[in-house]
């Protein structure tokens, strides 16, 4: 069983003044840490992440593979409990309820009902032996005491709602008989069958081709408007978040390095890693002969996260702050603008100067 403990006053991060679960926030994550004990050492998949999501709002979580995006979402749903070697601490407030210390069976009841999730690869995420309809019916009947017939009617209604043609017929098809886009629609139908107030989408378009991607994103946006749900969109595709997100969270090495509104993060980014992400994004309005600027090096091992700032071995500006502080001290997430947080040792004026003079003109 996972070891549940609550540590308050996390080192390395200033907890925003706003109190958890109050006012209009629907989901509030405070200093979430998810570590896995392995034979090779302690894997710090998520190491102190905090954020809030309001109803009807979309939070985009971006970062490289292995930056802790997916583990964060599984932690919110309480799915890490399946791993016997997981250690979790921090707080997850959902609609005024704390989930990390809560009874696992209570969290199970919330899963699929109040909060649900759609996954990256709908082919492997759906059970190959059951019909699409049966899987949606199952998701509905876990949380609603209804007859099979009523649940089936509901499943057909949902398939129709997500734009699957002939839903009365397709309800009896197996996942492998659907196309990739159709499968993801069915997956969305399954996730939304109980009208959840929080929807976590873990790279929902990565396995799909580009034309279908846009349709799926439109669908999620429409459904969000209709149901007023809060959405967490996990992706490494900045194009997707640019289109969808109200707020952004940039993750690196299991930590949050920058957080703010989409405008703030896209137009006044304060962290060198965010600059790197923006610089490595291909843009259609740019001259083809111009090279993309990659972030040099590879993502850190989550067992041996570099001391100090996790990004320091790859950061071109690591030597600017004095006394080697980037290699010795973990930078705290500090507010640089209205609700705009970033974790960097460089002075804010210095960063603003580098961004406006050196980075922005090249993008």
């Amino acid at each position: 069983m996972s070891e549940v403990s609550k540590t308050a006053g996390a080192p390395g991060e200033v907890v925003p003044a706003q109190r958890s679960g109050t006012e209009d926030t629907f989901l509030s994550v405070r200093d979430l840490r998810i570590h896995f004990q392995t034979d090779d050492g302690l894997v710090k998949s998520v190491d102190g992440v905090s954020f809030d999501v309001k109803p009807g709002e979309t939070l985009g979580v971006v970062g490289e593979s292995g930056s802790g995006k997916s583990v964060t979402s599984l932690g919110i749903l309480g799915l890490h409990r399946a791993a016997p070697n997981a250690r979790i601490s921090g707080e997850v407030w959902l609609d005024g309820e704390e989930l990390i210390g809560a009874d696992p069976d209570h969290v199970r009841r919330l899963r699929g009902q109040k909060m649900s999730m759609i996954f990256q690869d709908p082919l492997s995420a759906m059970h190959p032996y059951y019909t699409v309809g049966a899987q949606i019916v199952e998701a509905y009947r876990v949380h609603n005491k209804v007859t099979k017939k009523a649940a089936r009617t509901r499943a057909i209604e949902m398939l129709d709602r997500v734009g699957i043609p002939e839903p009365g017929k397709r309800v009896d098809s197996y996942p492998h008989e659907f196309s990739g886009g159709m499968r993801q629609r069915a997956m969305i139908a399954m996730a939304l069958v109980n009208n959840p107030q929080l929807l976590i989408a873990d790279e929902p378009t990565t396995a799909l081709d580009v034309t279908v991607q846009a349709q799926i994103l439109d669908l999620i946006r429409d459904l969000q408007k209709e149901f007023g749900s809060a959405v967490i969109m996990i992706t490494h595709d900045l194009g997707v978040v640019a289109e969808m997100a109200d707020k952004l969270l940039v993750m690196y090495g299991g930590r949050c390095v920058e957080r703010g509104t989409a405008e703030q993060v896209f137009y006044e980014p304060q962290h060198p890693y965010t600059w790197g992400l923006l610089g490595s994004m291909p843009r259609i309005d740019r001259d083809q002969t111009e090279r993309l600027i990659p972030v040099k090096g590879s993502p850190p091992s989550l067992i041996n996260v570099p001391d100090g700032c996790a990004f320091n071995p790859r950061c071109p500006y690591a030597d600017i702050p004095k006394d080697d502080i980037t290699r010795t001290t973990r930078p705290e997430l500090t507010e640089t603008g209205n609700g705009h947080f970033s974790a960097c040792h460089m002075a804010q004026e210095e960063r603003t100067r580098i961004w406006t003079e050196e980075i922005a003109p090249k993008l």
Binding site: R111, G112, M117, F119, P128, Y129, E138, V142, Y174, M190
Partner: protein, 337 residues
């Protein structure tokens, strides 16, 4: 689904024909290639008091003087329509399905096999139930409690089960339970199910357990490996994300997917056993297919060896056919490919 079924049945029949041709060739073509004359082959059928006349008669009677393909054709034909054997003045009718006539024992092959199949079947079916239930159950528990004491204990027992041969465990059980602590004080004897079902089960219990010990060990390891793999699949995560209870996640989503390879292996193992559980039958002195096969090989009784081989082949092909059909019922993806 119907087309799939017909295709599979057709394939199974074809496979049996090939098996029969190969078996036939092994027994009739290979000796010929090795330089054995048809007279020598015929002499084997006559027995000890072979004189040239009776050898010639048998040779003609069995069609050994005919070309090989005619012999094979006759062999197949007599299975379907039966055959007549002549011994001097009298004619013996061998009704279809006629798998030949043992000149050594002066019996038709088929009724001998028919008499022994129920014994082997009784042995196999009970053992199969025991090993499936115990093997799959321990495998699932081991997988879910991976690394725990229970897992290590089960896997150690399983290792012992795989390593210990049946002539050891069977003998041990037999001597312990009939001599040392004589629970089965009259020894263990086969009683037909139709005669007394209670006695049937009681007498078979020890052979069942001895045989099942070996197999359940194997199935426990297979199930454990399958469950470990399946429980890491994405659809298990989806099932949990839906809010299903862990018991439903394991039973309905995990085990169902993990069982498919078990079904395949089970079909083969069970088919193989129906062809004769040689060692178990020998240890417990059950006059089943396996013991009969060994005996007829030792006696060089060719028609019986042929008959037993084909029956065993039939069971294996038949069980595999069943597995394919069950598989299609379990995994919808199989039906269309």
């Amino acid at each position: 689904m119907a087309a799939y079924f017909i295709r599979r049945v057709f394939g199974a029949v074809l496979l049996l024909l090939i098996v029969s041709a190969v078996t036939f060739a092994i027994f009739f073509l290979v000796p010929r290639l090795a330089g054995q004359t048809m007279d020598q082959l015929a002499a084997q059928y006559v027995g000890k008091d072979a004189n040239p006349d009776s050898v010639a008669a048998v040779k003609k009677n069995l069609g050994l003087d005919q070309p090989l393909y005619i012999q094979y054709w006759d062999f197949i034909r007599q299975i379907v329509v039966g055959a007549d054997y002549q011994f001097g003045p009298e004619t013996t009718r061998c009704d279809a399905p006629c798998f030949g006539y043992s000149f050594r024992r002066h019996v038709e092959v088929w009724p001998q096999i028919v008499a022994r199949v129920p014994i082997t079947f009784s042995l196999a079916i009970g053992a199969a139930v025991i090993w499936l239930v115990s093997g799959v159950a321990t495998g699932v528990v081991s997988a879910l409690k991976r690394g725990s004491f229970l897992d290590r204990f089960f896997m150690s027992v399983a290792l012992a089960g795989v390593s210990l041969p049946i002539f050891f465990t069977g003998m041990l059980a037999l001597t312990t339970l009939t001599v040392q602590w004589p629970i089965w004080s009259d020894g263990i004897n086969y009683v037909p199910f139709t005669e007394n079902p209670g006695e049937w089960a009681w007498n078979l219990l020890v052979p069942w357990c001895s045989l099942a010990f070996l197999y359940s060990a194997l199935y426990a390891r297979l199930t454990r490996a399958g469950m470990l793999e399946t429980m890491g699949e994405d659809f298990i995560r989806t099932a949990r994300a839906k809010g299903l209870k862990e018991s439903q996640v394991i039973g309905k989503h995990g085990l169902r997917a993990a069982l498919t390879p078990i079904v395949t292996i089970f079909g083969m193992d069970f088919g193989l056993l129906l062809g004769g559980a040689v060692i178990t039958e020998t240890v417990f002195s059950f006059d089943g297919m396996g013991k009969y096969a060994i005996k007829s090989v030792q006696d060089n009784d060719l028609p019986i060896v042929m008959g037993v081989t084909l029956t065993a082949a039939f069971f294996i092909v038949f069980c595999n056919l069943l597995v394919d059909l069950v598989y299609a019922a379990i995994d919808p993806r199989v039906r269309y490919s």
